[in-house]
């Protein structure tokens, strides 16, 4: 084991140990901090009973639809804006204004438009994810070396060939980066949307456990969501690296 891995593992283990032992020693109140053992017990309880499966299904569906829509619209639009400069100049200022805005501030108005059901969470996840996907795809296209395009042209590549064989692979890194950033914003959008106003979903559970002062249950759900976000982000990263080497 490298020195790096050793130190990281040790500090993480120390944190978990302290988290377990301090409440046991009576130094902190476990009602406020919970404990690893309690969180695991709560998780077992949550999985076996209640609406857990339904809530997970609702949250996953909202995430999947919102995020897929964001990719389906963000990537093509980004490619388009990256290629056509006047269009980019026209749309860049509003896109940047939205990028600088905390997208979750849109929650209340989206709830007014779409209600408290799944649609509003899909919309928030979409709104959060589409902008980074769009912006990074655009940056990826603009980062493609002009000389590559000229070289392809001088070997008689037509517009479509240039697009498919030069611009698309050349901008892949930007697209993947955008998708990765968008993914965490989509997860956040779904969870916070559910925490704000909803009838089901993991965010709804989190808020309910919070108001019932059930820290153990709350933490299990929060850690589950974090685990999902970490796993999905890592998956996109690995996939991106695979595609990258394949493209070369």
């Amino acid at each position: 084991m490298s020195y790096r891995a050793l130190v990281s593992t040790l500090t993480a283990a120390a944190f978990i140990a302290l988290w377990e032992l301090l409440p046991r020693a009576g130094a902190v109140d476990p009602r406020f901090t919970s404990q690893p053992s309690r969180v695991i017990a709560a998780g077992w309880e949550i999985i076996r009973t209640g609406n857990f499966r339904h809530d997970v299904a609702v949250s996953l569906a909202e995430f999947a639809i919102g995020f897929s829509l964001a990719i389906a619209i963000g990537v093509p639009l980004g490619l388009l804006l990256g290629r056509f400069t006047p269009l980019r100049y026209l749309l860049d200022p509003p896109i940047m204004a939205i990028y600088a805005t905390p997208h979750l501030a849109l929650l209340p108005i989206i709830v007014v438009w779409l209600g408290i059901g799944m649609q509003s969470k899909i919309a928030v996840a979409f709104a959060g994810a589409v902008i980074p996907i769009l912006v990074n795809t655009m940056a990826g296209v603009r980062g493609v070396e002009r000389s590559w395009i000229l070289a392809a042209r001088s070997f008689c590549a037509r517009g479509w060939d240039v697009f498919l064989k030069v611009i698309l692979p050349g901008s892949l890194a930007g697209v993947i980066l955008g998708i990765r950033l968008g993914l965490s914003r989509a997860v956040l959008g779904v969870v916070v949307g559910e925490m704000y106003q909803s009838q089901a979903g993991l965010g709804n559970e989190v808020m309910r456990y919070g108001s019932e002062f059930r820290t153990d249950y709350l933490l299990f759900d929060v850690l589950l969501i974090s685990g999902f976000a970490l796993a999905a982000t890592s998956a996109v990263r690995v996939l991106g690296e695979k595609l990258w080497t394949f493209g070369k």
Binding site: V7, D92, V112, M195, F213
Partner: protein
């Protein structure tokens, strides 16, 4: 910036505002849902006159200043420490990684249990959201200082202090400021979301309050203020970043 870029950029805002206003006036869309620019301007004017706007901005700004200020101090110190000492970096690694990628707002109910509903919770959320970004960028900035520059300074007899002030700091500053800029976005998110969930004043609170009353115009007016403040902060720090990065392009 090219003049075509400026003209087209301004044009797009004008077109959006005019289409929006016209679509409502001619009855294509229901103003209940989308409101209209003239009504929003009137609402902003009213809020500015009554003092409501400045009060809300002051409350949000105070939360922002405390939360973000704390995370600048803690983030830069932690990042610098990790950047100079290997073991500290490895020790911070798992925590930084978790804080950086987990949906932290989901911890909001826990903060409410710890700090109570209201200002302290909003500040805690603001701090927690912005600190990982600032720490990570400071760490990267220090790591990416060109070792050639450090060797050159050493061979001309620079002390550790000279090295810090004259080489490491100027060379890492642009990355650190980029972290501060990204941190502003995340801190704003913390303030607004914290206020959406539980507050008695502030911009996020007024968005949520008018939303609950279905007063779309007043809600969008507050949203516009948030957007403008977000753009101003980000642009300001971008300018600062360019200013401190100027030496790099002139070498």
């Amino acid at each position: 910036m090219k003049s075509a870029q400026v003209v087209l950029g301004v044009l797009s805002f004008v077109v959006i505002l005019l289409t929006w206003e016209a679509a409502v006036r001619w009855g294509w869309v229901n103003p209940f849902f989308v409101s209209q620019p003239s009504a929003i301007a009137a609402s902003l004017n009213r809020a500015a006159r009554s003092g409501e706007l400045s009060h809300n901005i002051a409350v949000s700004f105070r939360e922002f200043a405390i939360g973000y200020g704390l995370s600048v101090v803690v983030g830069i110190l932690a990042g610098a420490l990790a950047g100079r000492i290997r073991t500290v970096e490895y020790a911070f690694d798992p925590f930084l990684w978790f804080l950086y990628s987990a949906p932290l707002i989901a911890f909001y109910p826990i903060f409410v249990l710890w700090f109570g509903l209201g200002v302290p919770t909003v500040i805690a959320l603001t701090f927690l959201l912005s600190v990982p970004q600032i720490a990570a960028n400071t760490l990267n900035g220090i790591h990416n200082v060109n070792p050639g520059l450090i060797r050159a300074a050493r061979s001309f007899g620079a002390t550790e202090r000279d090295l810090l002030w004259k080489v490491v700091l100027p060379a890492s500053l642009p990355t650190v400021i980029a972290g501060l800029r990204l941190g502003v976005g995340r801190a704003l998110m913390g303030v607004v979301v914290g206020e959406l969930f539980g507050a008695t004043a502030g911009l996020g609170y007024s968005i949520s309050y008018y939303g609950a009353l279905l007063k779309t115009t007043d809600m969008i007016a507050s949203l516009v203020v948030v957007i403008v403040l977000g753009v101003l902060c980000t642009q300001g720090l971008s300018a600062l970043e360019a200013r401190f990065d100027a030496w790099r392009t002139s070498e």
